[in-house]
Amino acid sequence: MKKQQRFIMRTVILAVIALALGYTLFQTVFSDKEEPVAAGDMAPNFVLKDLDGNEVELEDFKGKGVFLNFWGTYCPPCEKEMPAIQRQYEKYKDQGVVVLAVDIAETELTVKKFAEEKNLTFPIVLDQQREVVDTYGVGNLPATYLISPEGEVLDKITGELNDTRVRDYMEQIKP
């Protein structure tokens, strides 16, 4: 009887500690604090002004696949992937795919000149207060979130993209 009690006691104590330790490990290692928005989450809604001063809300695009791209003119790989995104956007915009490019904390003038120079036609919004960047926990640039027509984040991709990859991603979010 006593032996059994001791066994139960020991098992309980070890199990409690193991659980606490497991939770700690899980929190520190697997759920990266830097990434509040990950694949499988619903994409947090936001509203930002575009280059013409109009408000653009993410939910406006509900029903469309959203190719949400975070970038800056100071980021060479962002600059390099822009033409590819523009080319694929032209092919997919009639198939319910929209590109929403969020520029991070730059002046309107810089971004406008850049868009003109590269002939970008998709909506570009300015996150001057970095609120959206912080909400999404964007780290390295460029960062692209693939958002399904239902508003779910299907994937987060960091790094420069080429035509093939952009096309594959747009296929993925096409309604």
Binding site: T11, L14, I17, T28, Y74
Partner: protein
Amino acid sequence: MDKIKCECGHLNPYGTILCESCGKPIQEEADHQLLNMRYEGTARRSQTYNTNFVDKTWNFFSSVKVGVWLIVITLIASAIGTIFPQQMYIPQNVNPAAHYENEYGVLGEIYYLLGFHNLYSSWWFVLLLGLIGVSITVASIDRGIPLYRSLKNQRVTKHENFLKRQRMFGTTKRPEDEEQFIEEAIFRLKEKRYKVRREGNNILAEKGRFSRWGPYVNHVGLIIFLLGAMLRIVPGMYIDEDMWVREGETKAVKGTDREYYLKHEQFVLETYDPKEERYSDALNRVGGTVVKNYQSDVVLYKADKKLPGAKPELTEVKEYPIQVNRPLQFDGFSVYQVDYRQEMSEMSFQLQNKETEDAIGEFTVDLQNPKNEYDLGDGNKVILRNYYPDFYFDKERNQPATRTNVPNNPAFIFNMITPETPDGEIAFIGIRQNLDPSGENQYKIAFNGVDTEFITGLTVNRDYTLPIIFVGGIIFMIGVVQGLYWNHRRIWLKLNEEEVWVAAHTNKNWHGIKREVDDVTSKLQLNPAIDQQEKKKER
């Protein structure tokens, strides 16, 4: 695994070394040896049962050796973690994997791969701390409970073998009047503030038993401390965020989920006045200026929550000057002044005739929000063709570019339009650079001045784990004090047919107990108790 019955009738658990009740040595060793009084000779259970997986795990962690090794490994890992900088101290805009490899070679690569670059978040470091926690808990339970039982069960009457083999032991011829002797003995022991119990012709005097709980109390403190540290990772328990706010800017307070906003009205940087007599000597000695005050005058607002990016409706909560160590406090948050930097905010230029250097007009560019066009009147205007806040020349693409979005090194491409040059002339203006790409310009833009502004560096902190860690720390200290400043002393007196026996034991500070025993024996006219360990050394 049966219990062992001692002569005195007490049932001891298997593995017991000294009977819990009378102290008779159960596992006989050579008769003359001194007894090992560690843990009162109780059966450390871990060492006796070793049957299934749970027991084996338990016994592993019960070992002090294992615990010490875990601590040593953790210490070595922490030391290695200081060899190269931690990730938070390397530049934010680089890929850490590449950075460590480039800066420190193969060692840096290994450092990164093993997670030393982010030591406190690497899984094996957290695991080590957790295992230390397991070790502390298990080892304490395994030793503390038997020790408590044993001290609670101890009898006044001890077996002769127990007394004889104590470190302090002495014998004297039995006195005439035993009742008077015992009463005097009790009086003398009580005088020394012992708690005295009597059982026939046996006396047990004891004091400071609670000092034995010291190590267990401090382990409880440590476990609470570890628990508090662990709670930091629970979302919302611990917030520690940095934010930069320029003068005049209103920004969401990080970590508050845009519930609070903060406007930075102005930054105050005061230095000690070298002309003031009482400072001048010291300031001369140091050479240069010494800052007296860093201060951000801010207004705190509460916001009705809107979507990220939307302009919130703000209600003022309070105005507050944040100074070093005088944080703005609200709702559990503290906002500290930690840093500042100065940035260019505006640049002024003059449009001039290139030959005569006659000024045609002046304009100022706001570096945070430049305009497209600056009208100078009389048909003169300057169009800002492009703006590079942190200019560098990208050789790869053979064009000007910007390194960051911060105006560290602003450069501009202007188009100058005058009635004489309606098609415009291009000028490139940067710091210490003034290029005329065509070489045929009639006009030029001259640098006319720069304005700077302060950007304050604030840290937002909220730590709900602090009280827990604090309580853990206090309990730890209580345990340490309890174990260090008190000793558990026991003196046994036994009258047998012919002699009076005195034996004494303490868990530390033998010098102290010797003085007490000597004092008591001399007052009772007994032979002094002899330190058998020292006697052995002499031999």
